[in-house]
Each structure stands twice: as structure tokens, then as C-alpha cells.
Symmetry: C2
Subunit: 69 residues, 2 copies
């Protein structure tokens, strides 16, 4: 299990938190997601044999947010 903390722009409210949480959490291999609205971060615990950081980033971008780091 690995962990990555991504800086994400554009999450403005609890609906955004739910959208990111739901989308990233539904990815195969993802076992945990913590979205920090104020800190603008998304922490993801994942199994690197099943999903990549790039796929996680792409999912967040697909939801309409910008992964800045």
C-alpha cells in the first residue's frame, strides 16, 4: 500500500469533497481517500499494483479540478 498527497485547486465546497471522494474512492486499488478542503489536498492510499498516481490524478482532473502538484 502506498500513499500520495496531491495538491488540488478548485474544490470549493462539501459537494466537491464528495465528488472527489466518490470518484477517487471508486478506482480499483484505492483503499482510502481524505480530502482536505481548506488545505486543498487529496490524500490517497492505494495499491500501486492496481492503480497509478497518474490514473488517480486523471480521475480528479476528470471531475473538473486541477492537480497542481
Amino acid at each position: 500500500m502506498e500513499k500520495v498527497i496531491l495538491n488540488v485547486d478548485g474544490m470549493s465546497c462539501e459537494h466537491c469533497v464528495k465528488a472527489v471522494n466518490g470518484a477517487v474512492g471508486a478506482l480499483p486499488g484505492v483503499s482510502g481517500v481524505v480530502v482536505d478542503l481548506e488545505g486543498k489536498t487529496v490524500a490517497v492510499e492505494f495499491d500501486a499494483s492496481k492503480v497509478s498516481v497518474d490514473e488517480i490524478k486523471a480521475e480528479i482532473e476528470d471531475q473538473g479540478y486541477d492537480v497542481v502538484a
Copy 2:
């Protein structure tokens, strides 16, 4: 049919627009809702014999937003 334009604080993204649109649009007697995210307004067309402005305001507040006027 009457029309009211309410000033609403706290709507920050398209998810909020959907939440307000869906909730207010589901009220009996409401025939139209236009949410302006940038202008912070919610315009509602409604049948005053079926729903009151106070009920519309309450529904918006229930969704977590502040009706300021």
C-alpha cells in the same frame, strides 16, 4: 405565476447550482429556477397558490445556503 429573485450566499460551484436547482425545482408549484452562480441569485417562477416565497427560502436554507434578501 409569480417570480422572485433571491440573493443567496454560499453557492460556490456547479454542484451548488445543481443542489439548489434540484431542491427548489422539486417544490410543488415551482415551474422554473435559474441559479446565477456569479451574480449570487436564484430566480424562481412559481404558483403562489401552491408555494410561498418563505417556503422557497426555507428550501434554499435547508440546502445549506444563506438567503440574504
